[in-house]
C-alpha cells in the first residue's frame, strides 16, 4: 500500500482552464466565463472558505428564480419558454459543473494502490 495524499493547488490554474473549456463545450460561453471567474476567485480567496461549494449552493438557490423570471414568455406553452430562457440554462449548467469541481477540489484522493 502506498497512499500519499495528492494536493491540487498547484494545478488549480490548469484545472481552471480545462474546466472553463469543458463548460464552454457543454454549456456555453456565458457559463464558461462564470466558471473562469469563480475559479480565479477561488484562487484568490482562502481555500478554507470553500468558495466553489458555496457558489454552487447559491446558484442552485437562484435557479428557480431565474427559471421563473428569466424569460419574457408566459409559463405556457413551456417549450418555447424553456428554449428562450438562456440564463436559466447557462446558470444550471454552470451550477452543475461547479458542484462537481467543488467536490473535486474539496476531496482528497489516494494514489493507486497495488493490492488489488
Amino acid at each position: 500500500m502506498n497512499r500519499v495524499p495528492v494536493r491540487l493547488p498547484l494545478r488549480a490554474l490548469l484545472l481552471g482552464v480545462v474546466v472553463s473549456l469543458l463548460v464552454w463545450v457543454t454549456v456555453g460561453a456565458w457559463a464558461a466565463l462564470g466558471a473562469a471567474v469563480l475559479l480565479v476567485g477561488n484562487l484568490l480567496v482562502s481555500p478554507s472558505r470553500r468558495i466553489l461549494a458555496t457558489s454552487a449552493v447559491m446558484m442552485f438557490v437562484a435557479l428557480p428564480l431565474v427559471w421563473l423570471l428569466g424569460s419574457t414568455l408566459p409559463l405556457s406553452p413551456p417549450s418555447p419558454r424553456l428554449q428562450d430562457n438562456v440564463a436559466a440554462h447557462q446558470l444550471g449548467g454552470l451550477a452543475l459543473w461547479m458542484l462537481f469541481v467543488a467536490s473535486v477540489h474539496d476531496v482528497s484522493f489516494l494514489k493507486g494502490s497495488d493490492d488489488d
Binding site: P64, Q83, H89, Q90, A95, L99, V104, L110, G112
Partner: protein, 1257 residues
C-alpha cells in the same frame, strides 16, 4: 477541509437506532403504498404495453419468439426482453390478481427496491461513518430522494425505465463490493442485476445507465485507491456474463435492428426530444419531451403540467438540487465525488443536444454520434439516463441530511428542517398528491371485452384485422399510447394499419394503400374483403372510439356494409361513441370459409406481375384483376430469373402508378405528401424500391417553377401544389402560409427561353379567414431587375394585374409581403397567369419493368407481344367528394415495349373547374340563354348559375339555387339572352341562412348601379328601361350564417334542349388525341358531383411502342383509367390448397393439396429475406415477395408434399435462450456456492485493517 479515507463499511449496529430507523422506513413504505394505490384506485394504468398486464402469459409466450405475428403482418422481434417481466406478471395473473393491482404491486416493489438500493449505495460510499447516527439520517435522505422525485413521476414512470432505475443502485453496490473483494462471484452478481434490468425496448435504458461507470470508477480509483485495471477487469467479467445472461434478447434484438431503427426513425424526432431538456429541467428530474408537448386535444401529459405551470411547485421541485448542493457544501464525505460526478455525467447526457437550434459542441457531437452510428438512434431519448443523475442526487441529498441534522439541534430547527424536507418531497411528487400520478388510465369499456369474446370464440389462427388505421391511438374512454389494444384483447394474430411504418416496407405499403382510401371513403366495393383474403383474415373489427376522427365511423361502416365478401355486422357499445358508426366496435366475419391461418397457396399461372406496390390493391380490385385471388408479384422485387418464371407461368403484367414517391405521414393515417420528383428525397416514405420502379413527378412545360418559404406547416400535405396556380383552373391553387406564416413565401418562375411578358395576373385565394394583402413581383428583364409592389382586394374575383413593361424576361419572382386575418388556415394563389407560360405536373409511371420484359419473355420462350399487359392508373382524389384533392385531373406518362391494343374503362367525374355553361351544355341545356357564375359552393355542379334561371312546370324552381362559394362577397352571376326590353327584374334568395344584402348590377356591360337585396324576393329596378342582352350581378355585401342561396332571378329561363345529349364525351386525351367515354346514362350522378364508371366509346385503343401521355380536359376529372389487354389467361387445373400441420410465430409446416405445379406458397408473414423454406427436405432458396407483402416461394410440388417454413434467425434465437438459461444456472451456482462456503474474504479483511490504520478522525 480535506479527508483521506478508504471506504469499507462496518456493520456494527446500535439496537435502539435500528428500531427507530425501522419504524421510519416502515412508515415511509406504508406512505408509498398508499400513494401508489390511492391514485386512480381500481383503474388499470399501464406503464408499458397494456397486454403485459391484461394478458401477461399470452404476451410472454408471444414475445419469446424471434418473429412477432402481432400486431402487424409480422416483423422481427426486438423486444424479447419483455418475456421475464411478463412472466412475473403472469404468475400474479394466475393467482387472480387483477391487472390494475399487478401494475401497482409492481410499481411498489420497484420503488422500494430503488429506495433500499440508494440507501445501501450511500452507506457503501460513506464508509464507517454510515454506521453512526449520521449514517442513518443520510440513508433515509437518500432513500426518499431516490424514490420520491419528479423523475419517477414523469420520465422514469414506465417499466422499461423504472426497472433499470430501481436496480441501478444494486449494480453499483455489486461493483463497489466486487472491487474491494475481486471475484467472479461479484461479477456474476453484478451481471445478474444488470440482466434483471431486462431487455425491454432492447435494453436501451440499462445500457444507457452504464455511464454510471464514470463516477463509479472515479470513486474506486481516486477515493478507495483501487487500480483502474482491476476495476476494469471486474466490469469486463460482468459484461461477459451479462452477454450470456441476456443472449435470449440480445440475439433477436440484433437480428431485428432494422425494424427498431425504422420505428425509431419514424417516431419522435431529435428536435422534438430536445425541445425542453435544459439544465434546470434535467437537474430537477424533468426534461422528458412528452411533458411539455401539446396537440389539438391539449397537453400530452395533462396530469403533470403543474411542474411548469404552478410556480410554487416549480420552486419546490428545485429543492432536491438545492439540497444536493448543500450536501457538497456541508459534508466532508468522500462520497461527494461519486454523487457530484453522477449528477454531472447524468445531467450532461440528459441535456443531449439542447438547445436544439443552437447546439453546443457537446450537443453536436452527441447528435452526430446518435445519427451516424448504426443502432444508436435507439438512444436518442437521452432523458433515460436519469437514474444516474438521481442516484448522484440521492447520495448528495443524503449527505446534506447529515449536515442539516447536525445544524438542527433544537426542536424548533428540527421542525423547520422536517417541514422543509416534507415540502420539497411534496413539491417533487406533487401530481401524486392530486391524484395524477399516472399518465395513462385504461378503463377498458365492457363493449371491448364483448367484442373480444366474439372474436376469440372463433377458432383457428386466422388474423383479426382492425380498421380504420390510426396514428397514435387516443381512445375517447381515456387510453392513449403507442400500443394498440388488439394484442390485449384477441388471442388470434392481430393486424392494423399504423401510420408509423411497422411490419416491413411491403406490408406498410399495402396496408397504407388500402387504409388511406378507407379513410377517404374512396375504397371500391369489395376491397376490404379482398385484402382480408390475401392476408388470411377471419374477422374485421371496426374501431371507432378514437378521438378526433370526425365521422370516420359512418364512412368506414358504409364501405364495410357494401362489401359482399363480409358477413353481417355485430355491434358493441353505445352509438354516440361511434363517430357516425352504429357502435364504437363492430365485428364482421369474412364470408365463406374462414381461413385456418394466414399461410396460403395460389396458382402460379396467371399471377399478376405488378409494376408498382401493394397499394395498387384497391385499383386492381376495382379493375376486376383480382377475381379468383391470383398471386400478386411485385416487379421491382423480382430478379431476372423470377421475372422469367413469372412470364413463363403466363403472368399478367400490370403497369400501375401505385408506387408513388411521396412523403408519408407518421402520425396521420389519412395524410401524405405530394408526389415527388426522382431527385427529391422524402424523409419518410412508403414507396418501395428505387426511382426506376416508382411513379415520380415531372413538371412539363416551358419554365421551371420553384417555391421558397415555409409552405404549409404541420405536413406532409399533398394538396395545394404550386403548379396548380398555373393550370388555368380557378378552383385549384397553390396554398401556403397556414398559422400566419404567409409572408415570405414566394414562387420563382424561370423561363426556358426569355420572352416578353407584358402584364401578368395574380389571383389570390381570399375565401378563408386569412387573405393576402400585398406582394412584391420582381422580374429579370433584359438583365435588369424590375420590381413592382402589388396590393390585393379582399375579393376572389378581382385579380391584380402587374405590368412588367417591354423587354425579354427570363425569370419572375412573386413574394408575399403582407397577409391579414386571425385564422389558422392557409392563403394562396388560385391562378398566376404569365403570358405564354405552360407548366404541367405529370406522374410518370415506372420504366424499369418495360425495359426488362422483352428479355425475360424471350428467355422464357414466350413471344413478348403475347404477354398480357394492362395499365391501371388512379388520380389522387383525396376524399370521396374530391374536395381535398392533390391532383385535380389525371396527368400521367407511361411506356410500352411494343404496340398494344386496349379496351378502355374507368371512373370519371365532372371537374371542379368545369364552367357552368359547359355543364349546362352537357346536361342538354344549351340554347340562346346562357348562365355563368364566378363560383359554385364546393364546386357542386348542381349549385351552378342556371339553377337560378330554371323552372318547374313554368314556375320558378326554388328547390334549386345558385350557391356561390365563400366568402360570397365579390362573387358574380351573369346571364346572356336574346335582346329584350328590360326595366326591372326580381332576385329571390332563401328565407333562411345567409343572404346577400347589396349588389352591383350591370346591364350590357354598362355602368354598374347598386341595389339592395335580402332574404326572399326583391325587385331590382333599372335606372331606365333598356334593350338588354346581358345582366351581371356582383354581390358586394352579405349577412347571416350559412350558404347564400340565389333561388331565382326573374330573367329569361335557361331552357332544356329537346335534343338528346351525346352519350360520348371527351373526358381526356391520350397522346393528344381525344379519349371518348360513354357517360350518357350516368348524367344525373355526374351532376350530383359523383364519380361514375365509363367505357371507351371506341372498341379498342391502339398504342405504339414508346412513351405515352395521358392528358386532361377542363370539364372532366378521370379518377381511374384502365387500359385492359385483350389477351386473357385462364388458370388450369384445380387450385392449390395448403393444409396446416404445424403453425407457430416463426415457423410452420404445410401440406400441399391440389395442383401445385407450379404454385406460389405464401408464409402469410411480412417479407423478410431471412425466411427459409424446404419441400421434401430440399431448400427452396431465397423468398420472394408474394401477395405484395409476404415471404413466399414458387414451388413445384405434388399433392401431399410437406413444406417446412421457418424464420432463419429462429434457430439462433432458440440457442440464445439455452445460453441464457445455462448462464443463469451458472450464476446462481456461483452465488449459492459462495454463500455456502462462507470463505473468509481476505480482501475485505485486509481492507478493514488498512482502514483502521488510515482513517483520520
Amino acid at each position: 477541509m480535506k479527508t483521506t479515507r478508504r471506504a469499507s463499511p462496518q456493520r456494527a449496529v446500535v439496537p435502539g437506532r435500528r428500531s427507530w430507523s425501522s419504524l421510519l422506513y416502515s412508515g415511509l413504505t406504508l406512505l408509498l403504498i398508499v400513494m401508489v394505490l390511492a391514485n386512480s384506485f381500481g383503474i388499470l394504468t399501464p406503464d408499458t404495453k397494456p397486454e403485459m398486464f391484461l394478458a401477461p402469459a399470452r404476451t410472454a409466450a408471444r414475445f419469446a419468439s424471434s418473429w412477432l405475428d402481432t400486431p402487424n403482418l409480422g416483423a422481427p422481434n426486438y423486444n424479447v426482453g419483455i418475456v421475464p417481466v411478463a412472466a412475473v406478471f403472469s404468475v400474479l395473473d394466475a393467482v387472480g390478481v387483477p391487472a390494475w393491482l399487478i401494475m401497482r404491486i409492481w410499481r411498489i416493489v420497484l420503488l422500494v427496491v430503488a429506495a433500499w438500493g440508494a440507501r445501501i449505495v450511500l452507506r457503501e460510499l460513506m464508509g464507517e461513518s454510515a454506521t453512526q447516527r449520521a449514517g442513518t439520517v443520510a440513508s433515509v435522505g437518500a432513500a426518499v430522494a431516490y424514490a420520491a422525485n419528479p423523475y419517477v413521476i414523469v420520465g422514469g414512470a414506465t417499466t422499461p425505465t423504472m426497472l433499470p432505475y430501481a436496480l441501478l443502485p444494486w449494480l453499483v453496490v455489486c461493483w463497489l463490493r466486487g472491487s474491494r473483494a475481486p471475484s467472479w462471484r461479484w461479477a456474476a452478481a453484478a451481471a445478474l442485476v444488470l440482466a434483471a434490468m431486462s431487455g425491454l425496448n432492447a435494453g436501451v435504458v440499462a445500457i444507457l445507465q452504464l455511464i454510471v461507470l464514470v463516477p463509479l470508477v472515479a470513486h474506486l480509483c481516486l477515493i478507495e485507491g483501487h487500480r483502474f485495471l482491476s476495476v476494469l477487469w471486474l466490469v469486463v467479467r460482468t459484461g461477459l456474463i451479462y452477454v450470456a445472461l441476456s443472449a435470449y434478447w440480445l440475439i433477436p434484438a440484433v437480428s431485428a435492428l432494422s425494424v427498431g431503427e425504422s420505428i425509431a426513425g419514424a417516431t419522435e424526432s431529435v428536435g422534438a426530444i430536445n425541445m425542453a431538456n435544459s439544465f434546470p429541467e434535467v437537474l430537477r428530474g424533468l426534461g422528458m419531451w412528452t411533458l411539455y408537448g401539446a396537440g389539438g386535444e391539449g397537453w400530452f401529459d395533462p396530469g403533470h403540467i403543474s411542474y411548469f405551470l404552478a410556480p410554487l411547485v416549480v420552486v419546490l421541485s428545485f429543492g432536491g438540487p438545492m439540497l444536493a448542493a448543500l450536501g457538497v457544501r456541508l459534508s466532508e464525505s468522500p462520497a461527494r465525488l461519486f454523487g457530484s460526478l453522477s449528477v454531472l455525467v447524468g445531467g450532461l447526457v440528459m441535456v443531449g443536444s439542447f438547445p436544439h437550434d443552437n447546439q453546443t459542441p457537446w450537443g453536436r457531437a452527441l447528435g452526430a454520434t446518435i445519427d451516424n452510428v448504426p443502432g444508436l438512434i435507439a438512444f436518442r431519448t437521452t432523458n433515460k439516463a436519469g437514474a444516474v443523475l438521481e442516484l448522484g442526487m440521492a447520495v448528495l441529498i443524503g449527505l446534506a441530511a447529515v449536515g442539516i441534522a447536525r445544524w438542527a439541534r433544537s426542536v424548533g430547527t428540527r421542525l423547520v428542517a422536517g417541514l422543509g424536507a416534507a415540502a420539497v418531497v411534496a413539491g417533487s411528487v406533487f401530481p401524486a398528491l392530486t391524484g395524477d400520478l399516472y399518465q395513462i388510465p385504461m378503463d377498458l369499456p365492457k363493449y371491448w371485452n364483448q367484442t373480444a369474446d366474439v372474436v376469440n370464440a372463433r377458432g383457428a389462427d386466422s388474423r383479426v384485422l382492425m380498421v380504420p388505421g390510426t396514428g397514435l391511438p387516443s381512445y375517447s374512454w381515456g387510453y392513449s399510447g403507442p400500443d394498440e389494444i388488439g394484442p390485449s384483447l384477441f388471442r388470434r394474430p392481430f393486424a392494423f394499419r399504423s401510420a408509423s411504418p411497422s411490419g416491413g416496407a411491403y406490408a406498410s405499403n399495402l396496408l397504407a394503400g388500402v387504409d388511406m382510401r378507407l379513410h377517404q371513403g374512396t375504397l371500391p366495393q369489395g376491397a376490404v374483403s379482398t385484402l382480408a383474403a390475401y392476408l388470411g383474415v377471419g374477422d374485421i373489427v371496426g374501431r371507432y372510439d378514437v378521438r378526433g376522427t370526425g365521422n370516420i365511423g359512418a364512412r368506414v361502416e358504409s364501405i364495410l356494409d357494401a362489401d359482399p365478401g363480409l358477413g353481417a355486422a355485430q355491434s358493441f357499445g353505445p352509438a354516440d361513441m361511434g363517430h357516425g358508426a352504429p357502435a364504437p366496435a363492430t365485428v364482421r366475419p369474412v364470408a365463406g370459409t374462414v381461413p385456418a391461418t394466414s399461410a396460403a397457396a395460389r396458382p402460379a399461372s396467371g399471377s399478376l406481375i405488378v409494376d408498382g406496390a401493394g397499394s395498387a390493391l384497391p385499383s386492381l380490385q376495382s379493375a376486376g384483376l383480382l377475381t379468383g385471388l391470383p398471386g400478386i408479384l411485385l416487379a421491382g422485387g423480382l430478379d431476372a430469373r423470377q421475372l422469367e418464371e413469372a412470364i413463363r407461368d403466363e403472368g399478367r403484367v400490370v403497369l400501375t402508378d401505385s408506387n408513388m414517391r411521396r412523403e408519408a405521414s407518421n402520425s396521420n393515417p389519412a395524410n401524405s405528401g405530394a408526389l415527388l420528383g426522382a431527385n427529391e428525397d422524402p424523409v419518410s416514405t412508403r414507396a418501395l424500391f428505387d426511382t426506376s420502379d416508382q411513379t415520380v413527378a415531372v413538371v412539363r412545360g416551358n419554365a421551371r417553377v420553384t417555391t421558397a418559404g415555409q409552405g404549409l406547416l404541420f405536413g406532409p400535405t399533398a394538396t395545394g401544389g404550386v403548379t396548380q396556380a398555373f393550370d388555368g383552373d380557378r378552383t385549384t391553387g397553390w396554398q401556403f402560409g397556414n398559422f400566419g406564416t404567409g409572408v415570405g413565401n414566394s414562387v420563382l418562375v424561370r423561363l426556358n427561353q426569355p420572352r416578353e411578358l407584358g402584364t401578368i395576373t395574380l389571383a389570390p385565394m381570399q375565401g378563408g379567414l386569412n387573405r393576402i394583402t400585398t406582394a412584391k413581383v420582381t422580374a429579370s428583364i433584359g438583365g435588369q431587375l424590375v420590381t413592382k409592389d402589388v396590393m390585393f382586394e379582399p375579393w376572389n374575383t378581382y385579380p391584380a394585374r402587374v405590368d412588367l413593361g417591354p423587354g425579354l424576361a427570363s425569370a419572375v419572382n412573386i413574394e408575399v409581403t403582407g397577409v391579414q386575418g386571425e385564422g389558422g388556415g392557409p392563403v394562396g394563389f388560385s391562378e398566376i397567369t404569365v403570358p405564354g407560360l405552360s407548366v404541367r405536373k405529370v406522374g410518370v409511371l415506372p420504366r424499369a419493368l418495360v425495359t426488362r420484359i422483352d428479355e425475360a419473355a424471350r428467355a422464357a420462350g414466350v413471344d413478348p407481344s403475347e404477354v398480357p399487359l394492362d395499365v391501371v392508373m388512379r388520380r389522387s382524389t383525396g376524399d370521396a367528394n374530391g374536395l381535398s384533392t392533390e391532383e385535380h385531373r389525371l396527368e400521367r406518362e407511361f411506356s410500352l415495349m411494343d404496340e398494344r391494343q386496349f379496351a378502355v374503362s374507368g371512373t370519371v367525374r365532372l371537374a371542379g373547374g368545369a364552367s357552368d355553361s359547359q355543364i349546362d351544355a352537357l346536361s342538354g341545356r344549351s340554347g340562346d340563354v346562357q348562365a355563368e357564375s364566378s363560383s359554385r359552393v364546393f364546386n357542386n355542379p348542381n349549385a351552378r348559375a342556371s339553377m337560378a334561371f330554371d323552372d318547374d312546370g313554368g314556375e320558378a324552381d326554388r328547390s334549386t339555387a345558385w350557391v356561390p362559394n365563400e366568402p360570397v362577397v365579390g362573387e358574380w352571376i351573369t346571364l346572356k339572352f336574346p335582346e329584350r326590353e328590360l326595366s326591372s327584374f326580381t332576385v329571390t334568395q332563401g328565407a333562411q341562412g345567409g343572404h346577400a344584402t347589396k349588389a352591383l348590377v350591370s346591364v350590357n356591360e354598362g355602368e354598374p348601379f347598386e341595389v339592395k337585396l335580402g332574404p326572399g324576393t326583391h325587385r331590382v329596378t333599372l335606372p331606365k328601361a333598356v334593350d338588354a342582352t346581358r345582366v351581371r350581378i356582383l354581390l358586394t355585401e352579405r349577412e347571416g350564417s350559412g350558404f347564400v342561396r340565389v333561388e331565382n332571378i326573374g330573367l329569361p329561363r335557361v331552357q332544356e334542349s329537346s335534343a338528346t345529349p351525346d352519350r360520348c364525351a371527351v373526358i381526356g386525351t391520350i397522346d393528344g388525341q381525344p379519349l371518348r367515354a360513354d357517360i350518357g346514362s350516368k348524367l344525373p350522378q355526374l351532376l350530383e358531383g359523383r364519380a361514375v364508371t365509363f367505357t371507351g366509346c371506341d372498341a379498342t385503343l391502339r398504342l405504339d411502342e414508346g412513351r405515352h401521355d395521358v392528358g386532361s380536359v377542363m370539364d372532366f376529372a378521370v379518377d381511374d383509367l384502365r387500359l385492359a389487354s385483350t389477351q386473357t389467361v385462364i388458370p388450369d387445373g384445380s387450385p392449390p390448397r395448403v393444409e396446416v400441420l404445424e403453425h407457430g410465430s416463426a415457423s410452420m409446416t404445410l401440406r400441399i393439396t391440389g395442383n401445385c405445379s407450379p404454385c406460389l406458397v405464401s408464409s402469410g408473414q411480412s417479407f423478410d429475406e431471412r425466411w427459409r423454406a424446404s419441400a421434401g427436405g430440399k431448400d427452396l432458396g431465397e423468398p420472394l415477395v408474394v401477395d405484395a407483402f409476404a415471404a413466399g416461394w414458387r414451388v413445384n410440388a405434388v399433392p401431399g408434399e410437406v413444406i417446412h417454413i421457418t424464420f432463419g434467425p429462429a434457430g439462433l434465437a432458440l440457442g440464445a435462450w439455452l445460453v441464457s438459461a445455462a448462464g443463469l444456472v451458472l450464476c446462481l451456482v456461483m452465488l449459492v456456492a459462495g454463500v455456502w462456503r462462507r470463505e473468509p474474504d481476505v480482501h475485505v479483511a485486509r481492507a478493514r485493517e488498512d482502514n483502521a490504520k488510515e482513517v483520520q478522525p
